[in-house]
Symmetry: C2
Subunit: 286 residues, 2 copies
Amino acid sequence: MTAINEKGQTLEEFLASYDDSIYRHPSNTVDMILMTVSEGKLKLLLVKRRDHPFIHDWALPGGFINFNEDMEAAVRRELEEETHITSDTYFHQLYTFGNKDRDPRTRIITTVYLSMTPEENIRNAKAQDDAEDAGWFTLSKNTISSDNEGRRSLVTLDEDERGIHMEYLIEDSAMGNYIATTSSLRDTSNAKLAADHIKAVNMALDQVQHRAASTGILFNLLPKECTLREIQNVYEAIIGHKTDTGNFRRDIKKMLVPTGKTRKIAGKQAALYRFNPMYSYLMENL
Amino acid sequence: MTAINEKGQTLEEFLASYDDSIYRHPSNTVDMILMTVSEGKLKLLLVKRRDHPFIHDWALPGGFINFNEDMEAAVRRELEEETHITSDTYFHQLYTFGNKDRDPRTRIITTVYLSMTPEENIRNAKAQDDAEDAGWFTLSKNTISSDNEGRRSLVTLDEDERGIHMEYLIEDSAMGNYIATTSSLRDTSNAKLAADHIKAVNMALDQVQHRAASTGILFNLLPKECTLREIQNVYEAIIGHKTDTGNFRRDIKKMLVPTGKTRKIAGKQAALYRFNPMYSYLMENL
DNA sequence: CTAATAGTGTCTGTTAGACACTATCTA
DNA sequence: TAGATAGTGTCTAACAGACACTATTAG
């Protein structure tokens, strides 16, 4: 392991002479799509920015990655700050946004993580010091037109307590061999999302809706043991419409193990199940 | 648009006083999974590192993102350097790797892009100044065991001219609601991949194999007009095994438009088709 | 004619959507 | 008993895998 480079340096000598301070470097942040299901609706946490830039806009919670901090550690830190829970919250990487002009402060490259937690794990996420407010927004996406040229959809974010309504037009169109997506604020609403956050929200919605059917991702929104009806309620909140109970039960059972236990809300007792990720299609799929 | 923050600053005043030079910043790079199909095999371009760190290891081609350069622009720049073509090469973002110790030089956060190009577009990719060699490696992945606990697979990278063989063991196992993946160099081979590049290679293989069946991604490996047999050859190279011709033709035609033209290699003339991305399942899927 | 490539037809088991039905518990 | 929740059974159309078959061209 004492290989030498063309300048005759060992690795240690090379590293000692390595200096990248002559270059200006981007800043790196993590942002967080934090989803939960509450009252049969898919919800997203947004914080209202207290300072420039994008002052008073609603933004994804997030922050800078410390130089000596793993990206996942930064996500966990942000999650704990927002949800006040230290237990493991599920998240996975969604996308990295790095357009050079996406933030007026400096070059900021942000990696967005999609995280989910059961409603009961959230202790009233409250505004942090960099936010003047925080709220859970109901998320939905509806196709308004679709043909061989492309598809147009509407992504809406609603917060009832504060009466906030945001509406973005998403256009997917054929570009050679792939689909290009653009998004634009639709009406002169009373609020808007900061920076390019609508892109992340739209990607997250698409991904969650797609994976809800083929992977066990929705179990991150449920307690470890749950009834078939609870699973179906979460599924319907994600996809945005009702689905057939018989068919849903027939199919979801392939991913479940009965616990033998039961629980009752009203009427008949309901059997409790546990999710086994290896039984799901996760292995075959992505 | 002259909103004022709590310090009484306008956006302009805020930006003038903004200074993040007191923090040490990570470096940001893009790396590239460049795939093509040649002689019925899925190939990946790797370059052999000329300098520390990971000297003499095989690595994904890539480089630093300039401070004033969009990430996609950096990818295009790297692609042109490697393939010597300026025409549009397809690519999409795969994943961002940012563990704090992944590179001994400094904190380096790299975003990996998956790109594909038809074989005829490659002008003999040659080693750049930071590489002492470059080669196209045949990629394959085989499951060696699978049960309710997890799955073990082997990813192999082979280069015949130089007689290079690399073999990595990939282990997927159930962790709560999701699947954790680990990878390890399997045998004491004559070569290995730099840094954490095997993770990116494995993710890329999984993603391409999965998407080959449900999206039109493989058309990025083909000329604009092609025969059904050419499409099937590329498909089989990606998934790594033969498939039924009748069934494949029946299904792939849903994404295609006949051009009316024909072409002949030997035997019967073959009809030429063109891919229409909107006919594919891309819209419904991810 | 044969060899080589291109392309079709059909059977069958599995799956997905639609929908009508039964079961258990409380008040 | 009614009302609420839990859970089942069945029909059918669409789809996917297996596989046998026909078509066109060169020499």
